[in-house]
């Protein structure tokens, strides 16, 4: 192989190779080229996304750590802080779904651990192609098994997330895992290496050949040959990870570490060069001292291996013995593999010789590519939606049943029952609500977490979709009574080297940034996953937002379930911009992803959300739900099914819904989206007080809780038991049972 073939195979361009020559002032050897290959991949180096990411607001009153560390950290009160981040494992999951998903969970847990925090909650945001294709059913089943297999054993509860199905994800699933960790503010650790002569200690599992060049693999499109790269996917060992968590927390408790970093993409290379670059020092790694699980590994393989369940720590020499003793107590491999040096290089030694040496700062500074943002022409076609061509259905009972049975709207029970969502004994609200709700032991404090994505919306209109994604997360947290504090995000897009992909990325980021500014929720961490493309094209542009919020008193919270017969159901923010554009109804009933969804009114969203949160904190409201996919009627049905209580829509209100919001069309009124924001329910004795509290916003009492039917005027009348049959379906059932409806 000539040199050009070599660096091309490693994913480096001619330009990048020339840049390496320029930086080094000489030709790199294969090991050095491998270091650049992994560190300059999009996955590690953010070549295309970095200039765009600068648009995000990163600071706020509660932010203790913004982007640049292993996870973002926010203060929540009483000396407690939360570390959190979401990360993708899309490509590995596409070729080896069980291990791909499992190691995705393992990787994000280590990011949180690297901040010194105890991992306390996991969420997973998943997207697949339609379940009528066998391959998609396989990916879905195995990804869920992988998440459960790892998360359950490692002892961190999986408390929430989301799952969505749409054709563009076929063969390229999105598997995003989010982890939240709890830490005392004074115990935060950083990854910066300092102190010439300090030792570099590798903790955890032994190193093998798994995941060589995984980061490079993750920065390319998926092709038929990708399947043959299954060897690039690592194998997870949740037992080792559990020991690693307990060991690292113990080491930190005893004050034995200078800094800590997880090993993820690109293994020792990535971790050591980042630690060195941040500390402005060099690190020497002796490849021969890395404990190996197989023989005959080349030094370059040792330093870029992505073997799982490993952490790198910088330790003062006199504390090294105690560190190694504790590693042994937790049945882990601990080895001194290098030291901090003054020369600023990441230097790899083997057999007493230097086998590679590169300035750490160069590895950490991948070249940056900026593109022109050009509006793609596909919008002209997909944004065009003429309702005159959408036939109104005749039987709305059937439509409601059909929608509730759809994999995008039906119960997630068959998924979340495979995850241990209660280990840790902190889960206040079980899965199925708008956001997961956790308590902090020994305090009155709670925190809520949600993940949200709106791929179809972002495809139809990236900027408004990006903003709506952040707004939805904000609403979901407010529904349970939490004050949103900050977000993490995972940007899942197609190739940025194509104008369409770059435009979607740039515009989604712009929309998200606008919403983050308007809602006061800075971005404190994140991850970029580009090149989510197969031969059939790109996935929907899907930024996933993970938002975290705080409750001063966790016992004052709300859930969607109706709780009492006779409660009055109130819609807040009623009556603006209800639309079928980009709606679930249009997709499920008419097989169309079309139209231009209305732009989110961020000021109004904030006003209504903040109000609902106050009502919950004041103890006035314990039942709340936001209106999202499926519109108002699906949201009401979800509340009824969760509480086992029916609902009677006021006669005159049904007319208002159709004539007002629906503009005369029944389907727009019933299933249109982006109309109202919230539904709440209160007992009659609180009605007067509620009216006073709502005096400044549009609202309407629309229905009464009770009975065992959902009755909407003379349009819909179905028994709850029948609705439940459609809604509570096993998504992993026989193919016939999991068939989608179009």
């Amino acid at each position: 192989m000539n040199i050009q073939e070599t660096y091309s195979t490693l994913g480096l361009s001619d330009f990048e190779y020339d840049r390496i020559l320029e930086l080094l002032g000489r030709a790199p050897n294969y090991l050095e080229l491998s270091l650049f290959s992994v560190m300059w991949s999009e996955h590690c180096g953010y070549k295309y996304s970095r200039p765009l990411l600068r648009r995000f607001p990163n600071s706020g009153p509660n932010v203790l750590q913004g982007p640049g560390e292993n996870a973002g950290v926010v203060e929540v009160g009483d000396g407690w802080a939360l570390a959190f981040k979401v990360e993708s494992h899309n490509h590995p999951s596409a070729v080896e779904p069980y291990e791909g998903a499992a190691t995705g969970v393992g990787g994000i847990i280590r990011d949180i651990l690297a901040m010194g925090a105890r991992p306390v909650a996991l969420l997973d945001s998943l997207r697949f192609g339609l379940l009528d294709e066998g391959r998609n059913r396989y990916l879905f089943r195995e990804v869920v098994r992988g998440i459960g297999g790892y998360g359950n054993a490692v002892g961190v509860p999986t408390v929430g997330g989301e799952v969505e199905f749409a054709p563009p994800y076929s063969g390229n699933p999105l598997v995003n895992a989010m982890c939240v960790g709890l830490i005392r503010t004074e115990n935060l650790v950083r990854s910066r290496a300092t102190g010439e002569g300090n030792l570099v200690v590798l903790l955890g599992s032994k190193t093998g050949r798994d995941g060589i060049h995984g980061a490079t693999f993750a920065s390319d499109e998926l092709t038929e040959e990708s399947e043959s790269k299954r060897s690039n996917v690592q194998v997870g060992d949740p037992f080792a990870e559990k020991m690693l968590i307990e060991c690292c927390l113990k080491l930190l408790e005893e004050g034995l570490l200078v800094s800590l970093q997880d090993l993820g993409a690109a293994g020792i290379t990535s971790s050591a060069s980042e630690m060195a670059a941040k500390g402005g020092v060099g690190i020497e790694i002796e490849a021969d001292r890395v404990p190996l699980r197989e023989s005959g590994m080349e030094p370059y393989e040792v330093v870029i291996s992505e073997s799982q369940e490993r952490m790198l720590a910088v330790v003062e020499p006199d504390k090294a013995d105690r560190v190694l003793d504790l590693a042994a107590r937790y049945e882990l491999v601990g080895a001194i593999i290098g030291r901090v040096a003054g020369h600023g290089e990441l230097r790899v030694k083997s057999g007493g010789e230097i086998v590679g040496s590169v300035p750490a700062e160069h590895l950490a500074e991948a070249p940056v590519y900026e593109r022109d943002v050009v509006r793609p022409s596909y919008f002209d076609e997909v944004q065009d939606l003429d309702l005159a061509n959408i036939l109104e259905p005749g039987d709305y009972n059937e439509v409601l049943l059909q929608m509730l049975a759809h994999p995008n709207l039906c119960s997630r029970r068959s998924i979340f029952e495979q995850y241990d969502h209660e280990v840790g004994a902190d889960t206040v609200v079980l899965p199925g609500a708008d956001a997961a709700l956790m308590r902090i032991k020994g305090t009155k404090l709670g925190y809520a977490i949600t993940t949200d994505g709106r791929g179809r919306h972002c495809y139809l209109d990236p900027r408004s979709g990006g903003a709506a994604t952040v707004a939805e997360a904000y609403r979901n947290l407010s529904c349970v009574g939490a004050r949103p504090v900050a977000i993490t995000n995972c940007l899942n897009f197609g190739s940025p080297e194509k104008p369409e992909g770059y435009y979607q990325l740039a515009e989604c980021i712009e929309g998200m940034a606008e919403a983050c500014e308007a809602l006061g929720t800075p971005v404190v961490s994140g991850n970029v996953s580009l090149y989510n493309e197969t031969e059939k094209g790109s996935v929907y542009p899907t930024p996933v937002v993970g938002m975290v919020g705080v409750l001063e008193d966790v016992s004052r919270h709300a859930t969607p379930a109706f709780k009492r017969e006779g409660d009055i159901v109130v819609a807040i923010g009623k009556g603006w911009r209800t639309s079928l554009a980009g709606s679930e109804y249009l997709e499920i009933v008419h097989g169309k992803a079309a139209g231009r969804p209305p732009e989110t009114d961020l000021a109004a969203e904030k006003e209504y959300s903040d109000l609902v949160r106050r009502l919950i904190a004041d103890g006035l409201v314990d039942t709340a739900h936001d209106v999202s996919g499926g519109g108002e009627i699906v949201a009401l049905t979800e509340m009824a099914l969760a509480g086992g209580l029916g609902l009677h829509y006021e006669e005159v209100e049904a007319e208002l819904l159709i004539d007002g919001d629906g503009g005369g069309r029944v389907d727009v009124g019933l299933f249109g989206e982006n109309g109202i924001s919230f539904l709440i329910a209160v007992p009659e004795e609180k009605w007067d007080e509620l009216q006073r509290a709502l005096s400044d916003v549009p609202y309407d009492s629309i229905a009464c809780v009770g009975g065992d039917h959902i009755k909407i005027g003379d349009l819909i009348d179905v028994k709850l038991s029948e609705l439940r049959k459609s809604y509570e379906r096993d998504l992993f059932g026989a193919p016939g049972g999991a068939e989608v409806s179009h």
Partner: protein
Amino acid sequence: MKIGVTIFPGSNCDRDALHAVERMGAEPVELWHGDADLKGSDAVIVPGGFSYGDYLRPGAIARFANVMAPLEDFARSGGPILGVCNGFQVLTEAHLLPGALLRNTGMRFVCRRVRVRVESTETLWTSSCEPGEELTLPVAHNEGNYFADPATLAELEAEDRVVLRYMENPNGSANNIAGICSEGKNVVGIMPHPERVSDPVLGSEEGMRILRSVLAGARV
């Protein structure tokens, strides 16, 4: 009263159990798997989790841990021991309880709240419950399907040693068994997690009906 909680590599409900013991008003004691010492515990909880990664078979490796020898002596001398989930699996592997926990018949991990009935109040861990009392408790397991040969099952039923019974069987368990006890009724193994419902902020304190029984027994 001192209540020990064993910690094997891979235990993951140990901290929850220690927290519940504190809420019971007893003194929690950590029992490290490598130390053959119960540290003066008056009762011991073997908590849930994935001891040794559940590799080989749940509980199969943990039974050889150093802490097990004094625990077996403690069992023989009538000391109260409660195995929860993986702890139940460890106790069957150690032959402190009969039978075995097989893979769920649904072939999936199952995490949900289930209704169980207290069948025996003769044990040290159910003495404060009412006979026939119904509790809602969380289960979370992959291998909770209780199995024993017909003679053993008949013996358990005849000797009033079925402690908890599922009202809706989540895992295919024989005779809907959710928990059993030893001949001496001091060693109890249950699949549901009482420690997860031992705090009103989590929506239920029903698990305390079981956990606090051991305090009542101690006072007698």
